[in-house]
């Protein structure tokens, strides 16, 4: 009796094990190039709308990046002001020289 139960149990395990293996192989072949998303939730970007993404980006930018940016336009304006000032001073005082 006990032997029969053991045999049935092994058969049952083999059946479900085989079934699981078949399903796994099926998915493996279907998504060979990528890991199935249901397994790792790799493709989750649709959860956040574009609008919310923009807001998030703005907040991160405001919080972490501000102050690190290089304002090229401002740099060039400063340089122009410097050149402008130089010519004004030079006009007032022809002997004025700048050693660079």
């Amino acid at each position: 009796m006990l032997g029969k139960i053991q045999k049935d149990l092994i058969k049952l395990l083999a059946f479900f094990g085989g079934l699981f293996l078949l399903i796994y192989l099926g998915f493996f072949l279907l998504f060979r190039s990528s890991t199935p998303s249901w397994l790792t939730a790799e493709y989750n970007e649709h959860l956040l709308s574009y609008e919310k993404e923009m807001q998030l980006g703005e907040i991160i930018d405001r919080y972490a990046i501000k102050g690190q940016e290089i304002d090229i336009l401002k740099k060039q304006t400063n340089r122009l002001c410097y050149v402008g000032n130089f010519f004004q001073i030079k006009k007032a005082n022809p002997h004025f020289r700048v050693r660079l």
Partner: protein, 193 residues
């Protein structure tokens, strides 16, 4: 930057993003994206590029991360959607600090990097920039022994330089493709930085 980015942007037919590209002061050769189409390029990276085409190649790669929404996917791996919503609505500084750390420390996986490289090569071709520029950029990195160096942190998750050079050289451009160089005085642009 505007000249280079606008040539690339013109070729992205449909995009949800209004790109904002900024140059930041950093000692590292670095380029990164945060959600919402914001791309940051370090001054050091611009100085490292030998031509505007090389900078365009880096930019195209970052645009690919944005268009494929890799940045969002990366953040969503670490943060739940409700946590992100609470950041958007409340802008809690502690949460923001954690989010910022995640944004800069966690990297894209190799598949995302490869996907971005392919997108970038396609975008470069459409923009009349040779996709082989990617190879030129990585050759320079190799020459200066910067592969996986701490100075180029942003490359850590990227496929190895040599494989990227190979893929870039193997990329087949369509018949009649003719690269149009940027009409920029690259040397003086770099001096202006």
């Amino acid at each position: 930057m505007w000249v280079i980015s606008s040539r690339l942007k013109k070729q992205i037919r449909i995009s949800e993003y209004d790109y904002k590209i900024k140059i930041i002061e950093s000692e590292m050769i670095n380029a990164f994206t945060i959600p919402g189409g914001r791309i940051y390029i370090s001054k050091e990276l611009i100085l490292f590029c030998e031509s505007p085409e090389q900078l365009a190649a880096v930019l195209a790669h970052e645009i690919a991360h944005v268009e494929k929404r890799h940045t969002v996917s990366r953040i969503l791996k670490e943060f739940t959607i409700s946590l992100l919503f609470s950041i958007i609505s409340g802008a809690d500084t502690v949460l923001l600090s954690e989010l910022w750390k995640t944004t800069i420390s966690s990297s894209f996986n190799r598949k995302q990097e490869q996907e971005s490289d392919e997108y970038a090569m396609d975008l470069l071709e459409k923009s009349n920039i040779s996709p082989r520029t990617i190879a030129a950029f990585f050759r320079k990195l190799n020459r200066e022994n910067l592969d996986y160096d701490e100075k180029v942190e942003f490359l850590m998750s990227h496929p190895h330089n040599n494989s990227r050079i190979k893929r870039s050289l193997e990329y087949k451009t369509s018949k009649g493709f003719k690269p149009i160089p940027f009409d920029l005085d690259w040397k003086s642009i770099k001096e202006d930085l």
